[in-house]
């Protein structure tokens, strides 16, 4: 049902331009990876703290507040590079299980991060309780799944 839409995606100007270029895909991939590094750092600093490790001398709320703009920036970079990467090989993505795993986990991870984790982290101090730890662990698990499935798109 969605296949015609994916065919259209690949026929878009950007999709074609990236697919026809030698350098565009590798460069977009490399920047996508830089976004991953920033995302990983901005997430881990807070998630580890929520689990009670890492920067334990600081309240959770402070780290979450500082990390937030970098987290948002990382997501912007990843989407801005991820969309053209997808457009260039949309039909391959349509038949790729890893792609669907990634794309179904991603909205969950985003919703959880900004809907649940953000709210809890903002009000958490020096002694994260069990609920906070569970949220840190769920955040790590969700984003790990997104990243791992993302990497696997290229292998399957």
């Amino acid at each position: 049902m969605l296949e015609p839409f994916f065919r259209w995606c690949q026929s878009t100007l950007i999709g074609q331009a990236v697919a026809d270029s030698v350098w565009a895909f590798p460069i977009l991939e490399a920047v996508h990876l830089l976004g991953l590094c920033l995302l990983g750092g901005a997430l881990l600093v807070v998630d580890l703290r929520m689990l009670g490790v890492g920067l334990t001398g600081q309240p959770v709320s402070r780290l979450a507040r500082h990390a937030r703009p970098w987290l948002v920036a990382a997501i912007v970079v990843m989407v801005a590079t991820g969309v053209p990467l997808f457009l260039s090989e949309a039909i391959k993505a349509y038949y790729n299980t890893s792609f669907w795993v990634k794309m179904s986990t991603l909205p969950v991870a985003l919703g959880f991060t900004f809907g649940v984790r953000e709210r809890v982290a903002r009000n958490e101090g020096m002694e994260p309780g069990p609920r906070c730890k569970v949220i840190g662990a769920v955040s790590l698990a969700l984003w790990f799944t997104v990243a791992a499935a993302g990497r696997w798109i290229g292998f399957s």
Binding site: L34, C37, A42, G57, F144, W152
Partner: protein, 185 residues
């Protein structure tokens, strides 16, 4: 001589098995890539603090004391998986332009970290709580950010064979940088 050793290394049964494996190689490569989030991610956070761009009211010693062990753990995983990937195709990587640049930049990043920890960081008790760290720390943070970004980009580009020795003709400087003469000899 290096070429002969690496060619031999690449023909050892484990190297061949690794390269031809259905799951081992992709799993090792995926671990290498995902650990970037930990190793480079944690490094970026500390560098942002050193440049005064982020976490301005978190003391630098918090990062060097409590986040650095995580960075080190990430580095160990990156190194082990990276060496295994190299072992799967030693001769090809050794003559890959991007691989060579990556190794050089990693050495530069290592020297930069060493200089920082031996220098400005030793006096961190005096400035660690300052929102804006001293010049030496800001330079160390900027160099580190730039170097690791280059390492990530060149690392990703190793996968592309545009400048490999068996793709000719290439500009002279590319062959020089890739050490291609040694292969054709």
């Amino acid at each position: 001589m290096i070429d002969r050793f690496l060619a031999w290394l690449g023909e050892t049964p484990w190297s061949v098995a690794l390269l031809e494996s259905l799951y081992a190689w992709p799993l090792i490569e995926s671990t290498h890539v995902l650990t970037l989030g930990l190793f480079v991610g944690a490094t970026i956070m500390m560098d942002l603090r050193l440049t005064g761009l982020a976490f301005r009211n978190v003391p630098v010693q918090s990062f060097t004391g409590r986040l650095l062990p995580w960075t080190h753990a990430g580095f160990i995983v990156m190194t082990v998986t990276g060496l295994l990937l190299f072992y799967s195709q030693p001769l090809r990587y050794y003559h890959n332009v991007f691989f060579r640049v990556k190794v050089l930049v990693m050495i530069a990043a290592g020297i930069n970290a060493f200089v920082f920890h031996r220098g400005a960081h030793r006096r961190a008790a005096a400035w660690g709580a300052d929102a804006m760290p001293p010049r030496a720390a800001r330079i160390a943070g900027t160099v580190s950010l730039t170097a690791w970004a280059l390492v990530v980009v060149t690392g990703r580009l190793i996968a592309y064979n545009w400048f490999d020795c068996d793709i000719q003709p290439q500009p002279g400087w590319v062959n020089w940088l890739a050490g291609c003469e040694a292969v054709t000899e």
